[in-house]
Symmetry: C2
Subunit: 548 residues, 2 copies
Amino acid sequence: MVKSELQVARAAYQPKLPQALAGIVKVSEGTATESVADQAEIKKLFPHTYGMPILTFQDGGESMLTAKMNVGVILSGGQAPGGHNVISGLFDGVKKLHPENKLYGFIMGPGGLVDHQYKELTAELIDEYRNTGGFDIIGSGRTKLEKEEQFEKGYEILKKLDIKALVIIGGDDSNTNACVLAEYYAAKGYGIQVIGCPKTIDGDLKNDLIETSFGFDTACKTYAEVIGNIERDCNSARKYWHFIKLMGRSASHIALECAFQVQPNVCIISEEVEAKNMSLDDVVTYIAQVVANRAVDGNNFGTVLIPEGLIEFIPAMKALIAELNDFLATNGDIFNSIKRSKQRDFIIDHLSPANAAVYASLPESVARQLSLDRDPHGNVQVSLIETEKLLSEMVATKLDEWKKEGKYVGKFAALHHFFGYEGRCAAPSNFDANYCYSLGHTASVLIAAGKTGYMASVRNTTAPAEQWIAGGIPITMMMNMERRHGELKPVIQKALVKLDDAPFKAFASVRDSWARETAYIYPGPIQYFGPSVICDQPTHTLKLEQTK
Amino acid sequence: MVKSELQVARAAYQPKLPQALAGIVKVSEGTATESVADQAEIKKLFPHTYGMPILTFQDGGESMLTAKMNVGVILSGGQAPGGHNVISGLFDGVKKLHPENKLYGFIMGPGGLVDHQYKELTAELIDEYRNTGGFDIIGSGRTKLEKEEQFEKGYEILKKLDIKALVIIGGDDSNTNACVLAEYYAAKGYGIQVIGCPKTIDGDLKNDLIETSFGFDTACKTYAEVIGNIERDCNSARKYWHFIKLMGRSASHIALECAFQVQPNVCIISEEVEAKNMSLDDVVTYIAQVVANRAVDGNNFGTVLIPEGLIEFIPAMKALIAELNDFLATNGDIFNSIKRSKQRDFIIDHLSPANAAVYASLPESVARQLSLDRDPHGNVQVSLIETEKLLSEMVATKLDEWKKEGKYVGKFAALHHFFGYEGRCAAPSNFDANYCYSLGHTASVLIAAGKTGYMASVRNTTAPAEQWIAGGIPITMMMNMERRHGELKPVIQKALVKLDDAPFKAFASVRDSWARETAYIYPGPIQYFGPSVICDQPTHTLKLEQTK
C-alpha cells in the first residue's frame, strides 16, 4: 500500500484510552436490567442474555491475564470512519491479556463467518491500518446473520480456530443479530461469547448508555467541510441556491449535525416532517418562502440541506408509494403495454383520489421514476429518487406561480449535490480515533470478563478521553418488538431525531435567523495536529445531548 | 461573521514572503520581450505595453516609500482559494509603501468598476479575511471589460477615487482584458496602471514565467481528499465503480493532478483524447477494458476520473454538436412539432452519416439532452451533459455485449459524483496562502515601480517560500492571436495539458499499473499545523514541471 504523508504521520498517533483501561481493570456490575419495552417477549426470546447488569470498568482490579485464547472480529454493513481503530484497540487489548492470543478477521462481513473466509490479523497487518479510514483490512458485507444454519456454520469455523469470542462491529440490525447469536451459542452451551460494537455514520444507534455510534463524528465533519466550502462559494458568487442531499436513510442526525456546523439557510428534518404530517407541497412551500424572503433582501442565493430519507417520511408520499406498489404489482402488465405518453394518466385514473393528486403534482421525471424504476420485487426504488432535484424543481415551479401573483421578485437558479460516500471512509478524527480504539479495547475486557450479549460502551464522551467511562451494556436492554416483513421481531430501537430533545430544540430556536440572514460558518477540513479546540471537539449533537 | 475555530486559528497565520519582498526591493530589468506568437500583430495592438522587460525583484534596493496613493482591486470570474490573501498581501504592500495609502475594492467583479460600486478595504475588514477561502470580501463577477465605453466609465471612478493603479485578479481572459485596459489607459495618458494576478483553479493560466495559477493547489487537494475517501470506500465495499467528474472545462490539469494524488484506476485526459482523435466509443472501450481486466482478478470495483470538458474534446462529438446546432437552428420548428418518440429518428435521418451514427450510439437521455436542452442562442448546453453518467451507461452497455460474447465475466454497478463547487472556496492551503499573499505583495511593488500591463509573478515555487523569486511579466509576452466569435483577437494562450510535458508523461508511464492494481492513495484533508512534509508540499504537477 502506497501511503500518503498524512497516513504515515497518523500511523504514529497513539489513540487515547479512558483512564480505567490503561491499567488493570476492575469490572463493576450494576443491578439487573430490563428491555426498553416488551419486557416479557424479549425475556422469553433471550433467556440466557436477558436482564444482565450494566458493567462499568474501574481502575485497579486484579490481574486480568487470561489463558491463551483466540478472538474473531467481523465488520458488518456500511463503512464508518474508525473501524480499523476498533480492530486495533481490540488487538492491543487481546494481546495485553496474553501475548500469544490471536485475532482473526472474517472477510467481507458476516458472510465470511458463514463461508469460513478469514485471515489472522497480525501485528504487522494491524500496524498498516492504525488510525486509517475504511474497512479494507478485512472488508465488510451485508449478509444478515439470522438463521440457525448460519450460526452452526459459524460455530464450525469458530471451534476450528479455537475462538473464544466474536466481536461484531455494526449498526442496530447487526447488533441485534449479534445478540441473537450470543443467545444461541449460550443456549447451546458452545462456550463462545459474542460482543457488539456500535457503528454507523447515521448516528441512529444510540441511547442513554451508548452515547454515539462511531463514524458519525468524522463523517459529519467531512460533509460540513465541503458544505462550508459550497456556502462560501454561494456567498461569493451570490447567484445559486445549492440543494445538498446528505446520507441518512432513516434518521436525520447527519443533516442536523451538519446544520449546526455550517448554519445553512434551510435544513429539512425528516422526523419533523412526519410528526407534523407535512405534505410534499408543505416542504416545498417552506423552502420557497425562505427563497422569497431572502430575495426581498437581494439575496438570490442560499443553501438547503436535505436528508436522504425524506421522501419516506412524508406521510402522503409514503401512502402514494404503498398504493403504487400494490397497484403495479397487480396491473404491471397492462401498465407496460400502454404507450409511454399515456402511462401517467393511466396511473392517475386508477389511484385513490388523494394519492392521484399527489402523483399528479410530481415533476414528470420523478413520476416516471416512481412508476418505472422498480426493484426485482416490483417495489419503487426510493433511494434512486433524486430528492434534491425533485425539491428544487418544485420550488422553481412554486416561485414561478408566486412571481405571476406578484408575491416573489427574484431570480432562482439551483445546483445539486449529494454527499455520502465522501465521508464514510474518511480517516477518523481524533474523537473517532480515540472512541473507536477505546471501544475495541473495551470489547477485549468484556471478553476477558467472560461476558456475552453485551455491547461495548464508552460514555462521558464530551469530557477528555482519559475521563471517559468504559463498560458493557446488555444488548437486550436496548430491544423492543417491531414488525419486520410482517413478523414481530426483537430489535434494537432505532434512535431517530426526537423533536423534544436538546439538538432539535436548539436548531428550531435559531433556524429562522439562519434562513433570512447569511449566517454561514466555514468549518474547514478536519485537523489532526493543531490546537485542541480545533482537533478534539465532539459533535454539537453530542454536546447538546450530554448537557441536558 | 460567526467564525469556526479553524478560521480563528488561521487568521493568525502569517503568510511567508519571498526574501526579496521582506525588505526594500530592488527592481531588476531584463531585456526586451516578444509575444509567444503573432509578434507583429500583438505589437501593433499594444504599442505602449509591448516588448517590456521581465522584472525580477531583488533584496537591497533604495527606499521605496512613495507619495500617498490609492489602489483599486477587482476579483474577476470563478472563485479560487486564496483570493483574499492576494488582497491582504496587496493591502499590506500598499500600506508599507505609505501608511495613508488606501485600497478600494470594486464590488461583484469588473461590473463594479463600470457601475461605480466599490468599498474601501480597511485594516479591520482585511483582518476578517486573512487566510480564508472565498471571494466574499468584495464578491466576483463575469462582466468582461472589453469596450471603450466601459474603460471610460471605469476611468471616471478611478479618477474620482484618486486611484493610481488597478489590480485585476483573474484567469486568462481577465488578464488579457487587464492588458487591453492597461494599453488603453497608457494610450490615453490617463496615468492609471493596470496589473494582473494569475487566478484559476483550472491551472490553465501558466507558462515558463507564471509557474501556476493560484487556487489550483488547494482545489486539487480538496478534491483529492474526497476522492481518496471514495476510493477507500470503493476498496472496502468492493462492489461499485465510482465515476467522478472534476471541474475544468478546458484543461484537464485538475483531473491529472488529482490522479497523481489518489492513483485511480482510470483518469481520462481530454487533451489526449483530442490529440489521438479518439471517438466516444474509444473512450468507452478503454474504460470497459479496464473494468473487464480487473474483473478477471475478482475486483469488480474501481475509480474513474473524468474532466468536465471531455465531450468537447472528442472530435466526433464536437462535429456532431456543431451539425446539431446548425440543423436545429434551421429546422427547430419542424423538430418541435414532431412527436417526442419520433424526434430521435428525425435527427438521425437528417444528419450526415458520420454524425448520425454517433448520435444513434448515444444513450437516450443524452441524445434527448443534446436535442432539447438548448441555450437561448439555440446551442447545445454541453455543460449540462452529465458526462460521468453518459460514460458509465455506455460502459455498462459495452460490458453487456462482451458478456454475451464471453469476453467479460463480472458485475458492474456504477455510482456518480461531480466535484467543483466543493473546492473553489476552500480555505487556502499553506502553499496558496503564501503564494497568494506574495502575489498581492508583488503587485504592490509593481505599482510602486510605476509599471503597467504586467502580471505579478512569483517563481521558483517548489523551493521554500523564502527562496521564491518575485517580479513582473509583461502580459503581452503571453499573447497570441486566436479566433473568438469569428474575430481574430489578441489573447493569452491557454495552457492545456501537453502530452510531451513531464506531468502527462509521468502519468502515462504508470497508468496501466494503476488500472489493473488497486494502487489507491488516500491523501486525507489539507493540514495546516502538522509537519511540513504534510502541510507545505506543492502539487505533483508543479514539482514535475519544475524538475525538468
